[in-house]
Amino acid sequence: MSLINDLIYFDNPSIWHDFGGTSGGFAGITWQMMIWSIIVGLLVFVWLIYNIIMFKHKDGDPEPKDALKAGVFPHERGNVTIELTWTIAPLILVTWLTYISLAPLDYLWDVPEEDETDLVIEVTAAQWFWTFNYEDDYVKPSNFNACPSNIGCLEIPHGMIIRFNINAQDVLHAFYIVEIGIKQDAVPGLETLAWVDTNDVKPGKYSIYCTEYCGKTHSGMLADLYITEAE
């Protein structure tokens, strides 16, 4: 049963809920994409199946009047009105989809300046581990003890605006937190940014993945993220 469940439900909070990181305003666009995909898909499938059932060749059918003949360029068929319809309708649809894609971007790309954030974290990616450093003058709350070291483990407070300054030491990596919807490449020599408002994220344990292929232990380049209520 759970296999069937897995096949039916798309289980990822970051695209279904309006919360956290780069995922602000997601639910709307996800639903619209889903609905339009189903409409377009059904249109094609139903029309195709209708054609197969209604116009199937049966033995003894008369030769069609514009049947093809070897070495003869066939009559041109077409209908300008119909063809214009299925040019303009998709144009309107994709313009609409582009337009609604912009709303979450305003949130996503509006990374707060360092003085507007509560906490800045320097994220350093290297083959094949993550290192996290808090900004210099940050005093860790006393109950932050989930991480044995700052390598492969990060503990951040709940209820704050947090900015990640992401760097790479050797090759490309990518900083990916599934449930929060952050995905940002780490590029050597270029500081990239991501941010999250942890007011919108439940406290708990999350996983950080590397999603840009970086060599041998790419699939082992994981880290733990703890979001904890500071005391």
């Binding site: 096949l7 070897a70 066939p74 063809e83 492969g152 490309l172 292929y213 699939s219």
Partner: protein
């Protein structure tokens, strides 16, 4: 006496607590020991995951650090020994013996145990490492209980970390170095033999195939010798006689056949690699349980490279070679010898790419070969160099082909075949070769620069900076490769899908027994796709941190591709409406392609939207998307193409029942294998991962099983092609009632393709 030792112990305990309390835990000597991070193999890969951010060569061991493990001369079964590990060399300081070092040890057999407070054994593990008290020492004691058999050799893998203890200050853990070493301890009765070299899995498969091939050829040749009573030389001479024309041919039909066979040959090799990937992902596996991580990485790299450059493109150019001269009424391509050169660069380039397997691991950079990984030292050497060199050859092959076809189609059309009266397959190839000529040289040049980076130490792609005497610094851009690659790479995916559109147009029109709906708009749609394809490539780079305006523009243009693609799909459906649809194998494959390609197109639109792409980029959702368009689009269409044009090429019909069975199995298990990848991707499984979160095991097993059935179903196709060649029904010149000029010549076509150059007539004139 007991009380006394207890007293000493408790004092020691107290002291160690005091020492531990004074040493602030801030990751300096990793107070909890060398914890292998999330997974043990991390530590094995890195040697150590702490302190390697120092100013030394962080990822490599340092030979100044000397490890010494004191061992007895041999061991007796079941006995317990006390071992001493000692660390010397590396940085030193005098900060009150605090934070001096750390270690990690594991053993192949027997059991390691803690005997004092400096060492700990994390619960559920078998290795030992220092604890917070232990990081103030450079010597540790622990016990090892020998296994029950003393005829084996125990191997101790040790990592040691020499620390300068200034971590609490501003310097952090800079200046710390580590080293790794392996010690062996033989049992009393062990017979020491030379270390056996275990073959890697791909090598085993390679050898297995070679052995099978050699055995088969011995059987075939031996059989001939016995049955025909010929000597070995005579048999070989006979074979040579039949092979010779294939090696020296410049005839487009022969070269086309060679291309198609080579393409499908590589398709099966690439398919086997794909199944290896699926077997690795059958359950979350550790490094080396089936494939090692390095082998897995080269497997997906060579799988991708093979499928795009050595399977899809050769199959396309095979059909183009065979059919374009026939469809436009020419005797051959404009430059037949150049055509032969293009072909022979393909198996050569392919062999060079695969050469990596014989030199200790094929290229492991992914088919995209992103720098600076591919230009750096951590990529497989020389496998990656072979990958680059082979790709340059394949690029040269495609460039020459593009020039050849462009000339042929512009200059050598038969009377009556104007540009706007070419069959749609010919039109799709015409657009494709323009895309090829404009895009693939860019990739070839990028590869040459990459080769220079790898071989001559230039710095085009690795992101490092060079200063000159004037004090200015110049830095290379690690993103540059992505711009060059995707400038080629995106038109490339249209290069492989446009000819499939051409095939679909031909098949759907022929089997609906009527002209295609909207011929002119089909041509313009293809040309529009071709033009737009050059301005969309940035959608592969939404997460790189590129300019937001750039990203917005490519989102818009990417969405626009949906319009001409939609026109094509609707025109096909409109062609069928009101027609007389004959459901033969080529047609069911074409209609199956319409369904799978539509799904792939829809997920393409979803990925074009930047916010959703950020959620799905580099996850299995993308893998599902491009398999839906490449397998469900290109490969399905060209399988249909084989069923459609096989009678023309061989004069024999293919078996219809086997064909329908092949389609049914392929279609069902293709969808079963690739549809769930959408779900896996949305759940957050990144692509190119050799292992994954255990919660996704069930779905991955379902995918793997379906993929295996899909793979084995293709054997039906091979059987059908071979069996029909021998026993198929006679086809006749025009078995499907097609219109284009290839159906006007005999099957198979005569030596010069046409007895006399035909003239394409017009239906309007025919009626009169």
């Amino acid at each position: 006496m007991k009380a006394k030792s207890l007293k000493i112990l408790s004092i020691g305990f107290l002291i160690s607590i005091l020492v531990a309390a004074s040493a602030f835990p801030s990751g300096e000597t990793s107070p909890n020991g060398i914890e292998p991070g999330p997974q043990e193999q991390n530590v094995v890969a890195n040697g150590c995951n702490c302190h390697n951010l120092g100013d030394g060569d962080s990822n490599n061991p340092n030979s100044n650090v000397i490890l010494n493990l004191t061992l007895p001369s041999n061991f007796t079964a079941g006995e317990t020994y006390t071992l001493t590990l000692n660390l010397s060399g590396g940085p030193n300081n005098d900060s009150m013996n605090e934070n001096q070092g750390g270690f990690f040890i594991k053993v192949s057999t027997g059991e390691l145990n803690v005997i004092n407070d400096n060492v700990r054994k994390p619960e559920g593990t078998t290795y030992l490492t220092h604890n917070e008290a232990g990081n103030n020492f450079r010597e540790w004691n622990f016990s090892w209980t020998a296994p029950n058999s003393d005829s084996v050799v125990a191997k101790f893998d040790v990592w040691g970390n020499s620390v300068n203890g200034d971590a609490n200050g501003a310097d952090g853990n800079s200046g710390d170095y580590w080293n790794a070493q392996t010690f062996s301890l033989a049992g009393k009765n062990a017979v020491i033999v030379a270390e056996s070299h275990e073959l890697s899995t791909p090598k085993k498969i390679m050898y297995a195939f070679s052995i099978i091939a050699i055995t088969l050829s011995v059987i075939v040749i031996g059989n001939r010798m016995v049955v025909k009573e010929q000597s070995f030389e005579e048999v070989l001479k006979d074979y040579w006689k039949s092979i010779y024309p294939w090696l020296t041919t410049t005839d487009h039909k022969y070269i086309g056949t060679l291309y198609i066979c080579t393409g499908f040959g590589f398709f099966f090799i690439g398919g086997i690699l794909g199944l290896l990937i699926r077997w690795q992902l059958f359950e979350p596996r550790l490094d080396g349980e089936f494939l090692t991580y390095e082998e897995y990485n080269s497997t997906f790299t060579i799988h991708g490279t093979t499928m795009i450059f050595m399977a899809a493109m050769p199959i396309i150019f095979g059909f183009a070679n065979y059919l374009i001269p026939l469809q436009i009424g020419a005797r051959d391509l404009a430059f037949p010898r150049l055509n032969a050169l293009s072909y022979w660069l393909l198996p050569t380039g392919g062999l060079v790419v695969y050469m990596g397997y014989f030199t200790g691991g094929a290229g492991d950079v992914g088919w995209t070969g992103y720098t600076p990984y591919s230009s750096g030292e951590t990529a497989t050497t020389p496998g990656t160099d072979f990958w680059v060199a082979g790709q340059i050859m394949l690029g040269a092959s495609s460039t020459l082909t593009a020039i050849n076809f462009m000339t042929t189609m512009l200059r050598m059309r038969a009377p009556g075949v104007t540009l706007m009266r070419m069959p749609l397959f010919a039109w799709s190839i015409f657009v494709t070769v323009f895309l090829l000529l404009l895009s693939i040289p860019v990739f070839t040049i990028a590869l040459i620069l990459l080769m220079a980076d790898r071989t001559f130490g230039t710095l085009y792609f690795n992101g490092s900076c060079v200063g000159d005497l004037m004090g200015t610094t110049a830095c290379s851009d690690p993103i540059l490769w992505q711009h060059l690659f995707w400038y080629f790479g995106h038109p490339e995916v249209y290069i492989v899908i446009l000819p499939a559109f051409g095939v679909l147009s031909e098949i759907i029109s022929t089997f609906s027994r009527r002209p295609i709906f909207g011929y002119t708009s089909m041509v313009y749609a293809m040309a529009t796709i071709g033009i737009i394809s050059f301005v969309v490539y940035g959608h592969h780079m939404f997460t790189t941190g590129a300019d937001p305006l750039f990203r917005f523009i490519v989102m818009l243009t990417t969405m626009l591709v949906a319009i001409p693609t939609g026109i094509k799909i609707f025109n096909w459906l409109a062609t069928m409406t009101g027609g007389s649809v004959v459901m033969k194998t080529p047609m069911v494959f074409a209609l199956g392609t319409v369904i799978t390609f539509t799904i792939g197109g829809i997920t393409g639109i979803i990925l074009a939207s930047i916010p959703l792409d950020i959620a799905f980029h580099d996850t299995y959702f993308v893998v599902a998307h491009f398999h839906y368009v490449l397998v469900g689009g290109t490969i399905f269409a060209f399988l249909g193409g084989v069923y459609y044009w096989y009678p023309k090429m061989t004069g024999k019909m293919m078996n219809e029942k086997l064909g329908l069975l092949h389609f049914t199995l392929s279609f069902i298990f293709f969808n079963a294998a690739f549809y769930p990848m959408h779900n896996v991707g949305i759940s957050g499984m990144p692509r190119r991962y050799a292992t994954y979160d255990a919660s996704l095991t069930e779905l991955n097993q379902f995918i793997s099983i379906s993929a295996f059935i899909f793979g084995f179903a293709q054997l039906l196709f091979v059987y059908n092609v071979i069996a029909s060649y021998k026993n198929g029904e006679e086809a006749g010149d025009n078995p499907w009632d097609g219109w284009s000029l290839e159906w006007a010549t005999s099957s198979p076509p005569p030596h010069n393709s046409f007895k006399e150059i035909p003239t394409l007539r017009l239906a309007e004139e025919e009626v009169k």
